[in-house]
Amino acid sequence: MSTSPRRIAIFGATSDIAVAFARAHAAGGTRFALSARDGAALDRLAQDLKVRGAGEVTVRTVDFADLSQLPAIAEAMWGAFGGLDVALIAYGSLPDQAKACLDPALAEEALRLNFTSPALLVNTLAGYFEAARAGTIAVITSVAGDRGRQSNYVYGGAKGGLQTFLDGVRHRLHASGVTVLDIRPGFVATKMTQHLPQTGPLWAQPDKVASDISAAIAKRRAVLYTPWFWWVIMTIVCALPRAVFHRSKL
């Protein structure tokens, strides 16, 4: 238990993966600073975590699409317990690619929520963690960011940009001993993907993804594919020659 983080901030705390992660760490008095858009859902989660053994839970409603709110939320979450062991960034949205192709406003919104906002937030948090010279910044990106595909390059492009951004922040924080974890899940059965069938061997449950994240944080890893087989799949997908890849419908 000594490696279990004691102060955790979660941005986008009501997402299914975040909820599973928080629940897995609640026992034993862990303190949580939670933020998300839906205040009622946050309160519900706070109560749930307390019954599960959390020491203290503070909540803050925020719209991550509103970039002007980011510095204040970062400060509040960092300050809630005088510093953090882990910051998990778990928000995002899955846009309708066909519509986003035709509607620049929709594409812009998706890029903002999946790239600009988390990138700016990480940038601000990096300053706090750097000064404290310890801790982990964990960010959920996606295997979709590994290679652009016709069926979802708006989402994939944002996530890919975020991966590169995290690479840079990791480089910057190396000297201060802060870990930057890039979490790349595949298909996860969550409310974001509820319109899809969610069955088959490639689909994972949020609990599984959450426990992989916990293990990766404990081991101070840089990049996590979850479940693990996505590393194999994406290695192959990325290695496909363009001529072959372009004939696929992926």
Partner: protein, 463 residues
């Protein structure tokens, strides 16, 4: 592709395949999956007449949580704890939370081994609080502590007229009585307050005793009633003649001062898919029964102290064990008969099964005590209950079930809807004398395959 979002929509609608636990029926359903208590209330308020039924974790063997071609409201998204008072043991939680989660979080031993425990648990921990209330489930301690419903302090119900009602013995008592054991037909249960129980040790002292004939069950049971709070017997249902009703009597009680960690949240092993042929057939049942009957060896008695997992939840060790019955599935039958007829009627039932040579591996005989459940149409009542499951052999199995049903109802007994896929309307009405009273509290939007089969909701009612 990854799975986080910020949407606060109450539900997504889609069609999905759902089955009964016995796999007798699988069907496409229009599914609504509320993510919050408010979302569930909004859904309830929009439901047309006779359209929907709540679904918990689908551990009912029969069709109480099925509604083919219509709507299922999947309650698993309502999985939050709300509050727990560690001085009084009162737990408030949402109705979709699993008993396994409650055990994992709250039933942890203190330094002296004592702890909080769910007062009543059925043979599987993978059921929801809502499902436990709607079937008013019972456990191995039914003779001492009654049914699950006896420990519900209050509950919140969403009705299709848009109301969200608190129901308890004091507030809306009629609706409270109708909802406990009410098979989901009174509305959506949103939250519940449960009274947990303090036990002197979470571990159990358990004893298994082999017995040679049915009479011995009754002797052992009378002997054990006071000192052993958890009791049940396995019966070798293929034994006939002199050996009719032989079996293994199982009794357990809390071991003061001995702790036990909660069982895992999920089985570590699982049957991955349904094999094309049933693994449960005449041969394997015969072999199993013969072996199981001898498992205690020549001493014919075994005892141990340890975790409650094996005593309460032997079947939970393997996930999806129901698939072993193959694509045709299996029927489960559970009935209770009043105490005055207990012995002769149990004998008659066992003789019928033994002569039909349709064996079952899981045969449980258990006495219910005199504690009256608050539910209007709850299954538990004073008497002896017998539960078995039969591989589905088509007509032959249904005929056997009909014969068993006739014997039970003639003796003033009743069949358990949670396990049923074949009872007649007449038997249901006879077994549950408060049915007419119950029907006045039905929510007009609710309907299930079971309700239609029982004529509670007329077929042509459905739009």
């Amino acid at each position: 592709m990854s799975g986080s979002d910020m949407s606060a929509s109450p539900a997504a609608s889609r069609t999905r395949l759902y089955g009964s636990w016995g796999n007798i029926l699988r069907a496409e359903h229009e599914t609504l999956a509320p993510r919050s208590v408010d979302g569930a209330r909004e859904i309830a308020a929009r439901l047309p007449a006779h359209s929907a039924i709540a679904r918990g974790n689908g551990r009912s063997y029969g069709d109480v949580a099925l509604n083919p071609g219509r709507t299922l409201v999947d309650m698993l998204g309502l999985d939050h704890f709300i509050a727990f008072d560690a001085t009084t043991g009162r737990l408030r939680c949402e109705a979709g939370i699993l008993l396994s989660d409650i055990l994992a979080v709250l039933s942890r031993p203190d330094r002296d081994g004592s702890g909080w425990l769910l007062p009543v648990m059925p043979g599987t921990r993978f059921i929801t609080v809502g499902g436990a209330i709607a079937n008013d489930v019972h456990g191995k301690n039914a003779h001492g502590l009654g049914s699950f419903g006896c420990h519900v302090v209050d509950l919140e119900l969403a009705r299709s007229d848009g109301r969200r009602l608190v129901c308890s013995p004091e507030e809306n008592p009629d609706l409270f009585a109708a909802t406990i054991g009410g098979l989901g037909l009174t509305g959506l249960i949103l939250t519940a307050t449960l009274q947990l129980r303090r036990v002197p040790g979470l571990a159990l002292e358990a004893e298994d005793i082999a017995f040679d004939r049915l009479e011995d069950f009754f002797t052992l049971d009378a002997e054990s009633a006071q000192a052993w709070e958890y009791t049940a017997a396995w019966i070798d249902c293929l034994a006939g003649g002199e050996a009719l009703g032989r079996g293994i009597y199982m009794r357990a009680r809390h071991a003061p001062g001995v702790g036990a960690p909660p069982p895992a949240r999920a089985p570590s092993r699982s049957v991955p898919l349904t094999p094309p042929l049933s693994g449960v057939n005449g041969l394997s049942v015969r072999a199993f029964n013969a072996l199981y009957w001898r498992k205690l060896g020549s001493k014919r008695r075994k005892s141990h102290v340890g975790s409650y997992e094996k005593v309460f939840f032997p079947l939970d060790a393997i996930g999806h064990w129901n698939r072993l019955y193959g694509p045709a599935g299996f029927y489960q039958f559970q009935a209770v008969v009043p105490p005055e007829h207990a012995e002769p009627v149990t004998r008659e039932l066992l003789a019928e099964i033994s002569s039909a040579r349709q064996g079952s591996m899981l045969v449980v005989l258990k006495r219910f005590g005199d504690i009256v459940s608050p539910g209007l149409i709850s299954f538990p009542m004073p008497g002896i209950t017998l539960a078995l499951d039969f591989p589905n052999l088509g007509d032959a199995t249904r005929k056997l079930l009909a014969r068993l049903e006739r014997i039970v109802v003639a003796a003033g007994g009743r069949i358990y809807p949670a396990k049923d896929f074949s009872m007649s309307r007449e038997s249901f009405a006879k077994g549950y004398p408060a049915l007419q009273d119950f029907l006045r509290h039905r929510d007009p939007a609710m309907s299930s395959a079971f309700a239609r089969r029982m004529g509670i909701v007329e077929e042509e009612d459905a739009s």
